[in-house]
Assembly symmetry: C2
Homo-oligomer: 326 residues x 2
């Protein structure tokens, strides 16, 4: 039984058989979610990746990039709310200027737009086909692009961050796909050094950071690197449940830049203001945004925020040395 006729992972083409789609990837070998297809709505090759949209029987409309699920109508709110509101509500003062790297579906923009105190929301997305497809097939996510505070930059996110003035953002959200293909560089040290430079002291960089159940080694390496880059600040990890991501869970690494007065003492310990502890929310839960037709939150609350940082023992032990707060 070990020789399989199942198609190898790759483009969506290879993963759609007889009316069912199976999400296979070298990132989670030997397993995958299977969804029944009602209708394939869009198939195209962009300059960067394979883009596919289909209507599923159980999860509404589904977006695949290089054959991997990015979001579905039914559960996207969990990821989008958590990766936006966990860092936004952790900040010591309300964010005014925020940047999203990737996230071309617009869902994180929609969540950031809930905060009246935000003045500028920038998005650096490399692939112009993603916002186009989202506007056409995912109007509830793409609504984020309609907020007047949003500017979409179609460009290389790394270069955009490198070219940003130092200390210029209260928050940067890195809403990337997995570290294979175009997003691979978004998990490497030069990019995190650029992020650290671009965010203000006391500000936060929050990045998509895979699943504790599948990728503990990747998370450990990423957190170890971030702890070095955000020296004097803090690195923490939060999770959310989401049925259509591999293992049903995804996490985010929350990296806070040291406060301005902070520096490393002779004993290697930070001196000055204590680093930001993101486990306690400080800003109010955001409300609906009637101007864009955005309703109440569906996943995030302050209670959910704090609980999201509580890790199961196997993960807590594995990450003990590389997280500041857990």
């Amino acid at each position: 039984m070990s020789n399989s006729s199942k198609p190898a992972p790759g483009t969506a083409d290879q993963m759609i058989e007889a009316g069912w789609y199976t999400e296979l990837s070298p990132m989670w070998p030997g397993q995958g979610l299977t969804l029944k297809i009602k209708d394939i709505l869009h198939r195209a090759k962009s300059d960067f990746q394979d883009v596919c949209v289909f209507e599923s029987e159980s999860m509404g409309t589904v977006l695949l990039l290089d054959g991997v699920i990015q979001c579905t109508d039914k559960d996207e709110f969990s990821y989008q709310e958590m990766i936006a509101h966990v860092p936004m509500c952790s900040l010591e003062r309300p964010a005014k200027k925020v940047l999203v790297v990737g996230g071309g579906d617009g869902g994180v923009l929609r969540e950031l737009a809930r905060y009246p105190h935000v003045e500028e929301i920038h998005m650096a997305e490399i692939d112009k086909m993603v916002p186009e497809v989202s506007k056409r097939f995912f109007p509830e996510m793409a609504v984020g692009f309609s907020d007047p505070r949003v500017t979409l930059h179609i460009c290389d996110g790394i270069k955009y961050v490198e070219d940003s003035p130092a200390d210029s953002y209260d928050l940067i959200v890195v809403d990337s796909s997995d570290p294979v293909g175009p997003a691979e560089v978004l998990f490497e040290k030069p990019f995190f050094e650029a992020l650290h430079r671009a965010v203000r002291p006391g500000g936060i960089v929050c990045t998509q950071a895979e699943s504790l159940w599948l990728h503990l080694d990747i998370i450990k390496a990423l957190a170890t690197m971030c702890k070095e880059v955000f020296r004097g600040g803090s690195v923490s990890y939060a999770t959310t449940t989401i049925p259509t991501y591999p293992s049903g869970q995804i996490g985010m690494l929350v990296c806070a830049k040291a406060h301005a007065g902070e520096r490393e003492g002779e004993d290697g310990k930070a001196e000055g203001a204590a680093p930001l502890d993101p486990r306690t929310p400080r800003q109010p839960e955001p409300g609906p945004l009637p101007a864009l037709g955005v309703g109440e939150l569906k996943y995030y609350s302050h209670e959910v925020h704090s609980a999201a940082f509580v890790l199961p023992l196997f993960a807590k032990r594995a990450l003990a040395d590389c997280l500041t707060f857990q």
Copy 2:
């Protein structure tokens, strides 16, 4: 594309194709986890169900009952630890006598055996093939059967509970499969009335209670019924993450029986001692059990316990009227 050649759900036979197994069920239509098979180790029809064990490429050995995943080597500890330790650590006084209904794989027994203060552990399992298969293929779970305090009763769990003396258990864990097939009756009111009678005042009944993402209606109906049966006590809901269960999450309903002095006042409200709030652990985290070769906990901690009761907003709103504490 909407006419599918995928086999209909049913036995494991129908779900194993070309070296891959896909978990399809009317309980989660249009979706399912797919696992690559290395080797099929066991296939049989018991008196009650289709029993299959296979070696998977990514999750170790897998047990299927009627084609549905019951446990895998890689993630069983999450479910077994949480359904045992959340109620055990919630109790106001250490449990001495506990009952498991179902749970024939032995994993919950292994977890209950960690507590030195437990004197008797009874299991009522309807299908003798499940413990047999577990002893043969899942030695790390079946180790629970070796504890001298354990008595295995191969019988109808409902009848066993009905025949138990009133107020006789500190805790009853209902470790059932889904409410289709042999376990259907384990989700119905007569069974919960029998459970309520058999557990002592202030004791807990903790039952497997599906996924918030897939079965909010089932959970709502179950919790509403339990709130009626456990009048004067409390009904709460906790979750755990587990990649090989549908949606990657499963929950448990934690029902505490009213304390002895408690009764319903004229206004319909309970009088006497406040009902047990299971969100706060009261008993120490259990340690390893060297006599059986059982190591440290891998998932459960007191922190994880309290966080498990924090529900995402969509679920909190849906269950607001039928849970006592959330």
